[in-house]
Symmetry: C2
Subunit: 411 residues, 2 copies
């Protein structure tokens, strides 16, 4: 796909894209170019009506009866099967549950306990903090377990007979580099270890093929590229052949083989459902389902191709207008996710000034400007304009105004 | 409070109640008497508008900015402080997080690890299943830990030097008996053990005084008497003096002392916030807040007094019209919660036939008809009519029709 050479060409290319109709299905505010869908996905229009119906009719009118009538009870498996389609997994191998952090905990503990002779969780430094924190927490909980971090390029060689779990984030949250899932899953398996992939920055952003790539376990986030709403429930995956060997440490009633028998003793549900714990938020689950349904409507190949075009245009225009900002994201489509990051010592105030001008990206400590490229609702013309505004902000020095350095909580 | 002797007197007493204005603040369907608010609370009218605003404006228009602007990030502590008021706890000792099951797991593990010389989780048989299941899961996770169950009346005497945690549900989910929180917390403390209370069937239903009663830890449910919506987030409490001694095993980024520093190493937040794990569902949290806000508007003493009147009228009319159904709930207001349960061998089909006639209670295996009495939106006239309908159903034998015995999932 050749890149547009002018804003007019970008507008024309957007109009001709098979993704173009999807933009109108999101409730984006006027005057904003939203390049932070990798942190919080935009609101699908259909989620407004769906959530209102869940609240007023399913909850308000039908009340407790909706657990059966509206199949609230089946939501974790039903939505899980839809996400399975997106991550290349068998339908019964994914459930929606809890948060990414809690799911990481369940799977790490389960993986450690399934391999009593192995003691090591192998991961990389600079992984998304919660992944490292959760691993560290498991290590302090289970006797003899340690966390070892080695740089990304050295992971395959570092897997050894002591390694129980290779814990990696598929696409790095900050610089956006993508691990080779097939190669690293194979390396883990060859050494007798289990692979555990965090898909938070890849699900819905790039092709994922868990089954085909030989991944053992995975978790992922519902509120980024799946547009499930702020803090949407997360999901988890366990390869079919492994499901009988792994048991959740959080043995809540929703993971019981017969939750409504109300017996004292615990017996895990068959399959991945045993990783359910407590009663999930129905409103949150069904908002996520609405976002997932929208995603499933989109032509998948065209989506990822357009994501690549957005990336290439962003990088090309940055090289032209702001060559002093170093791009830290790999260029090759297969080696990265769907966000692009640049380094600047004053990334924080620059991003604040940019947001004030209606271009919303985000900042990641200590020096990263990050832009999410979400082809369901971001077009080439948006990218064109966003780089113009960024060049104007950086060039004008407006970000040096003290008010842009005031830090609140930044998510 | 003397009981009404006719439906007309019940209607008049309702009209005179200070709780009467609250009924109109719930979106209850026509033709339904809802006596299942102990399983899923009814929909507050204000939650319809609040949820729509969270979805369309806070998420849709303000997008990622709402984490700061709308203080999404502070919701666990802010809503926790409101619930603290309801359960008699210092404001900084409650947070909203995860599900009851996950919170039980975090606190049981934390309590066990804080007392390395003690090995026993003491609880009662027939406790709500998830409480027993989670305890059993912790016992299978941590070396040497055991779960011991002793009948309710024998708990105080069974606490010994081996007991780490006394795990009790304040009000029993089935028969509704209430434990003496002050006496049992004191007995646990005297023996050097920690008490952990599940408030799911007491928060919002009866007075709870965690700090005054000397409870050490507690969890509770947002979707019953707090009317937070199906599967609403749960809460947890840690007594102020204990907060430094307890650490969560699920060390997610939201429980970090500085979540947005994005460092590799974990350091727990001060206070109870360290028990946060992953990113919470904002839509679910703010729907819960809406329900809690409504609850806080109600005159507390009048609420609990009216709950007692509903109970007394229900039991009195049952004794008159259906003396063959045995009430398994203690009669004294201080010895029970705000639901009432009756035993009948055919409880399941009877409840199905009752629901068909617009009186919604629920069934708990194997033989319990359970009715939640929620004075915010249930009145004396509702109770009067409900017992009439139940008497008609039982007396007519209509429940013997085979269709009432078809079981779906029952929550």
């Amino acid at each position: 796909m050749s890149l547009p050479r002018s804003l007019a060409e970008a507008v024309a290319a957007d109009a001709a894209s098979p993704l173009q109709p999807f933009r109108a299905r999101f409730a984006l505010p006027e005057g904003v170019i939203y390049l932070d869908g990798n942190s919080l996905g935009a609101l699908p229009e259909q989620t407004v009506a769906r959530t209102a119906d869940v609240v007023t009719r399913e909850w308000g009118e039908r009340l407790i009866r909706s657990w059966n009538e509206a199949d609230w009870i089946g939501a974790p498996q039903r939505i899980g099967a839809k996400i399975a389609d997106i991550v290349g997994a068998a339908p019964g191998s994914v459930i929606v549950a809890d948060s990414t952090s809690v799911n990481l905990f369940k799977l790490i503990v389960a993986g450690m306990r399934a391999q009593p002779g192995r003691t090591e969780i192998l991961t990389e430094p600079g992984n998304f903090p919660t992944d490292l924190h959760i691993a560290e927490g498991v290590a302090s909980l289970l006797p003899g377990v340690t966390v070892r971090t080695v740089e990304a390029g050295e992971i395959a060689g570092a897997i050894g007979p002591q390694t129980a779990i290779v814990l990696l984030t598929h696409v790095h949250y900050k610089h956006g580099a993508r691990h080779d899932m097939a190669a690293l899953s194979a390396a883990a398996r060859a050494a007798g270890a289990l692979s555990l992939w965090d898909l938070s920055h890849s699900v819905g952003a790039v092709p994922v093929a868990l089954d085909a790539d030989g991944a053992d376990m995975a978790v992922g986030c519902g509120y980024k590229y799946l547009n499930g709403g702020p803090g949407a429930p997360a999901f988890l995956y366990v390869r079919e052949a492994l499901q009988r060997r792994l048991d959740s440490p959080i043995t809540g009633w929703m993971g019981h083989a017969d939750p409504f028998a109300f017996g004292d003793g615990y017996a895990p549900a068959a399959g991945v459902s045993r990783f359910l714990a407590g009663t999930p938020s129905v409103i949150a689950m069904l908002a996520l389902e609405s976002g997932v349904d929208l995603f499933l409507d989109a032509p998948r190949e065209a989506l990822f191709a357009r994501g690549a075009a957005l990336f290439n245009l962003f990088v090309a225009r940055m090289a032209m207008l702001l060559p002093e900002l170093v791009c830290v994201t790999p260029r090759a489509a297969g080696a990265r996710g769907s966000h692009v990051s640049f380094r600047h010592a004053d990334a924080f105030p620059i991003m604040q000034a940019l947001i004030e001008r209606g271009v919303i990206g985000d900042y990641r400590a200590p020096d990263i400007l990050r832009f999410g490229l979400t082809p369901l609702y971001v077009g080439l013309a948006d990218v064109w304009r966003a780089v113009d505004v960024l060049a104007e902000v950086v060039g004008s020095g407006v970000w040096r105004e003290p008010r842009f350095s005031v830090r609140g909580v930044v998510t």
